[in-house]
């Protein structure tokens, strides 16, 4: 890239081939910016392995990654990730849908806001996982209970964000809707709801992170598959390599889920003027 005198970057004139573009310096910089931290981290891990020197309790990076690879290729890791993902996604979308409705009800009028708010602001402080014993009673150890738990985790974050979005709408939008003769319901669903999309997406993004945390514990307590089960079986059979592998997978799931959600917001949120964010 060349720089004009004003410091603004201008596009290079010649069109370079894809192969040439691959070795653009920026890629190198980006690659190094990931490789150096990764290398330092691995070194630290190896140092810790030798410092602790209890291979049974604290496996180093080589045995752990070896185990991770084996579990991925030959073992249950991918299946576990899939099982957890299904639970998260079903519960998350169901809970978000309910959360949007509850949030709409909270934001629709002051009275309904007070009525629903009393519950939402109370229930959101109960850690979802404490419902687990009750859920176990109601639904048993199967899928439904996990769906319920994940939905519960998602509802309140989404509801509160939706309510904020519904009430934070610029008054001009409401006035315009009324000028065009929209009824109260039309304004609620065709003006307020779309305008609160950015808030809804933000709430959903937080809810997704919480959902992952909840499902892990639910699977640790009562399940025969999933990432949480893998974690706890590693703990029970004193096999930290398996636990570490499951945690590595869990981190990937978290990163990928968050990234996918951010991309989805970027792609579909533009219509509702969602600001791009890279945090």
């Amino acid at each position: 890239m060349t720089r004009s005198w004003a410091g603004a970057a201008t596009e290079p004139r010649e069109r370079r081939s894809a192969a040439l573009r691959m070795i653009r310096p920026t890629y190198w910089v980006r690659g190094i910016s990931y490789l150096v931290p990764a290398g330092l981290g691995l070194l630290f891990w190896i140092w810790l392995e030798h410092y602790v020197n209890l291979p049974l309790l604290f496996p180093g990076p080589v045995p752990t990654l070896e185990r991770f690879w084996n579990l991925t290729v030959h073992g249950p890791l991918l299946g576990a990730v899939w099982a957890s993902l299904i639970r998260i996604l079903v519960g998350f979308f169901a809970g978000s849908a309910v959360g949007v409705l509850v949030g709409l009800a909270m934001g629709a009028s002051r009275r309904s806001g007070a009525a629903f708010g009393a519950y939402v602001h109370f229930l959101r402080f109960i850690p979802p996982i404490v419902w687990f014993p009750v859920v176990l009673l109601w639904f048993g150890a199967g899928q439904n209970g996990k769906f319920f738990l994940i939905a519960y985790t998602s509802i309140f974050v989404v509801a509160i964000n939706t309510a904020v979005g519904v009430t934070a709408i610029p008054p001009d939008k409401l006035r315009m809707g009324r000028t065009f003769g929209a009824s109260w319901w039309q304004i609620l669903f065709l003006v307020r709801l779309p305008a609160s999309a950015p808030y809804i997406f933000t709430g959903m993004r937080i809810a997704l992170g919480n959902a992952i945390a909840t499902i892990v514990l639910a699977e640790m307590l009562a399940s025969t598959n999933g990432i949480g089960y893998l974690l706890v079986s590693g703990q029970n059979f004193l096999d930290p390599k398996e636990t570490f592998s499951a945690m590595i997978a869990l981190g990937f799931v978290g990163v990928v889920a968050d990234y996918a959600f951010r991309r989805a917001i970027d792609k579909f949120g533009g219509r509702f003027s969602v600001k791009r964010e890279y945090t």
């Binding site: 402080f125 009750v134 945090t279």
Partner: protein
């Protein structure tokens, strides 16, 4: 306007009404569901609460959980603030730490309870560890974001008035970041309580999480309901305290109202 109508107009009245209707529906529902262990009534829950309270079971285990969560949250947020400043001030540290922070914060804190139990044994240490882990990254990210959001003019001004780096940090950078740290702490405390209680279900043999899980297994659902409500009230109070603190610090640190 008559007194009755005025009362009907206030939000408080509607909230109270909603809660009363809710409790009524709860009572009715529990009489329809015959097995009380599936759905204890409001009265049974109240009784269970009284029994747990008078036997000291509730306060004892709540104190245990509170102690662990507080210890973990304190350690985690102290580390988070320190690391957050390091990451925020120095860009080399930031570029090294960035992938780790982003990756490690994606691992649910509760997952660490497994290795923590293997390392420290069943008891209070895994809970402290997990609660600390839950707070660490929230506080770290908020602190670093706070450092990044300091208007550069403020630092320049401090420098042109001849402040040493230490003075600039103590008198300009740190106070400017306090609002961000407070926001991080408010989120982190909730996360720590959740992780701590969840951790006690698998990695401990005492504490409110363990007790409620056991109660669930032995079909004492009224106890579980009582515990749920108590935890909700405590969480609500802690959050209110934070809001109060934030408001109190509003003037000094220019915290935004929310």
């Amino acid at each position: 306007m008559t007194l009755g109508r005025r009362a009907l107009d206030s939000s408080m009245a509607w909230a109270v009404l909603a809660v009363l209707v809710g409790i009524g529906a709860w009572q009715v529902l529990s009489t329809i569901v015959v097995q009380s262990f599936l759905f204890p009534s409001a009265w049974q829950t109240l009784d269970a609460f009284r029994a747990m309270w008078s036997s000291g079971e509730l306060t004892h285990n709540l104190a245990l959980t509170g102690y662990r969560v507080a210890l973990g949250a304190a350690a985690g947020s102290a580390t988070g603030v320190a690391l957050g400043f390091l990451v925020g001030v120095n860009r080399y540290v930031r570029s090294i730490a960035d992938p780790y922070v982003n990756y490690l914060r994606s691992i649910a804190a509760i997952a660490w309870v497994s290795p923590a139990v293997v390392w420290f044994g069943i008891g209070k240490m895994p809970i402290i560890f997990v609660a600390g882990y839950a707070t660490l990254f929230v506080v770290l990210i908020n602190t670093a974001a706070g450092v990044a959001h300091i208007p550069s003019d403020r630092i320049r001004m401090a420098k042109s008035f001849g402040a040493s780096p230490l003075q600039a940090f103590r008198d300009v950078i740190f106070p400017s970041v306090v609002p961000f740290i407070m926001t991080g702490l408010r989120i982190a405390i909730g996360a720590a309580v959740m992780a701590g209680v969840a951790g006690e279900m698998v990695g401990s043999n005492s504490g409110i999480g363990y007790v409620l899980y056991q109660d669930g297994l032995f079909l004492r659902s009224a106890n579980v309901f009582a515990g749920l409500i108590v935890l909700g009230v405590i969480g609500f109070c802690i959050d209110r305290c934070f809001v109060f603190l934030q408001r109190a610090m509003f003037r000094r640190y220019e915290l935004a109202h929310d």
